[in-house]
Symmetry: C2
Subunit: 343 residues, 2 copies
Amino acid sequence: MSERASIRDVAVRAGVSPTTVSHVLNNTPGTRTSEKTRARVHAAAAELGYSANAVARALRTRRSDSVGFVGDEIATTPFAGKLILGAQEVVRQHDGVLLVTNTSYDAELETREIRELLSRDIDGVLYAAMYHRVVTVPASLHAAPVVVLNARTNDDRSWVSPDEYAGGEDAAQVLIDAGHRRLAMIGNSDPIPAASGRPAGFLARAAAAGIPAEDVTVVYVSPTAGHAAEAAMRLLDRPDRPTGLFCFNDLMAMGAYNSARRLGLRIPDDLSVVGFDDLAILSAAADPALTTVALPHLEMGAWAAEQLYVEIAARATGQPSPVRHAELRGEVVHRASVGSPPR
Amino acid sequence: MSERASIRDVAVRAGVSPTTVSHVLNNTPGTRTSEKTRARVHAAAAELGYSANAVARALRTRRSDSVGFVGDEIATTPFAGKLILGAQEVVRQHDGVLLVTNTSYDAELETREIRELLSRDIDGVLYAAMYHRVVTVPASLHAAPVVVLNARTNDDRSWVSPDEYAGGEDAAQVLIDAGHRRLAMIGNSDPIPAASGRPAGFLARAAAAGIPAEDVTVVYVSPTAGHAAEAAMRLLDRPDRPTGLFCFNDLMAMGAYNSARRLGLRIPDDLSVVGFDDLAILSAAADPALTTVALPHLEMGAWAAEQLYVEIAARATGQPSPVRHAELRGEVVHRASVGSPPR
DNA sequence: CCGACCTGCCAAACCGATTTACCGGGTCGC
DNA sequence: GCGACCCGGTAAATCGGTTTGGCAGGTCGG
């Protein structure tokens, strides 16, 4: 085989015009073709291994079946991969392809890359953040369908983010279910949605379970293992210490692990720990393996792609884009860091 | 602004033909245009914010300035992100774009996705593995320029992989430099290049430093934290234990950490540990932070993309593809797990 | 028997760029 | 003064599909 077969080759072989081949292969609504001819076209296409040239099609239809994935950071955590994977599954069902781009938080680079994407007639853009925050969609994207992924925005755009509040609730519930009545959380002092949502849910659920407010402590520190370790040290180094500890994320949980170790506290016998994020390589390697609230990256990626296709379809029929928002709940991954409180 | 400006719009505004606009904007060799006209064209293009429609260009030139990134797995480690990022930097310089695809080790899916990419007239493909192994390039890619990334192949294709042997050497050197004379390595029993290369380099460097063979032990286990922990337990639970331990990867190093802890051995005072991979979230969160040999993902991604463009250029001028191979050395990341041997 | 309408199919225009082939006018060499 | 050649530019073909607008020929109703 030498060159890819074109629609003309198929037409010749089936003894029909390219028009008819196009109609048959695309099932173009509003066109009629006899069963006999349809069969001949399909046979010819199969024999030649024909598949339409996506570039030519895109030029005519102004639809490229490709969507851009514009992320701020792609190389530091597996998060990007999960968002991409979740989105890709949906895009794939639409015979589409994902154009991935990384901006490294560089606005100028972002503008250039978006221009590059736009010049390729992409159908829409997934605008993704690697950690849940508030973003503004760049002006250069104003005309394109855009869904904001793993973030929220004040622009009039659809977005999907993790349900931080529910995550906090779930973390509390895990500890409560195990029997803990003295709880603490090491929170994050940064001004981001997760930093307020998680403790809010945590506190609410503890209160709902009848745990008195003075028995649940929340402290806020800068989100590093070191700061978490310090905070844990202060929290744990006293007789009336909490027996159930929720950490803002897995990394900080590792800090808490270290402090517990220094204090001679065994996990989960003396102290139960719940993390957040489910950084699998971290939490599975921890000793003991860390019970944690997973971030729903796959699901968010898929949701965003689905929504994007809805908006693309709406635009194709001239309707206004239906803007929607979703907060997706992550699952609790039970491992080995939660047990009954010491008696 | 409503619609994107086309080359015709620019032509009208500059008072010339589309042909001339094309010549000027692309600096087409072998064409002549007066300075005056060139200036007018450039001005018109700038005023209209013109940038060529990449789809139309691709159709005519059969060159899409896009390259496919076909990976087997994208969501479990940050490796994929680093490979993509490294490649992207180079692709970007060529005004290109990366079409990312994930095959999940599914051959049928892979075939479908490659077909999808090919129908988009991609210029070439980066065929990437997430861990260094031997791959065979799928037959459907036979006609396209392909560079194998983070893997090697017996096909007549270019590839780039980590230099495992050098990594083993470097790990040994770190321990030797710190003064260690009794060394051990916990290796990987899987039949993959890294599993033989790293210990080979490690042993060679130890021998070169004059350490007698009986003072350096290598054991091979299945590459999990648990198996590594068991192996470390056996290795370390004796008076003539090694003082410098090299682990096949960071995860296994965490297993060794756990065993050392159980045995009451402090790191790095009683035992020095060197890992491999530089899984940053893991090694930085470890206590103490892990000294490790990094895998050169960024560099490999960039190398592969560079090489791919060389092959694309060669093909464009009708020359045969220059097949090349590279093994790239990773850097040692010094953190806190290596110290002097106990006296 | 006539016109309306349906069926099955196709020719040609079109999408927006690049590339080929050519053209008028000036210059140069002899 | 004439042919060759260069300069600056353009018209039209082209890439491979989809879409528009129609065209034969048959059927049906009145």
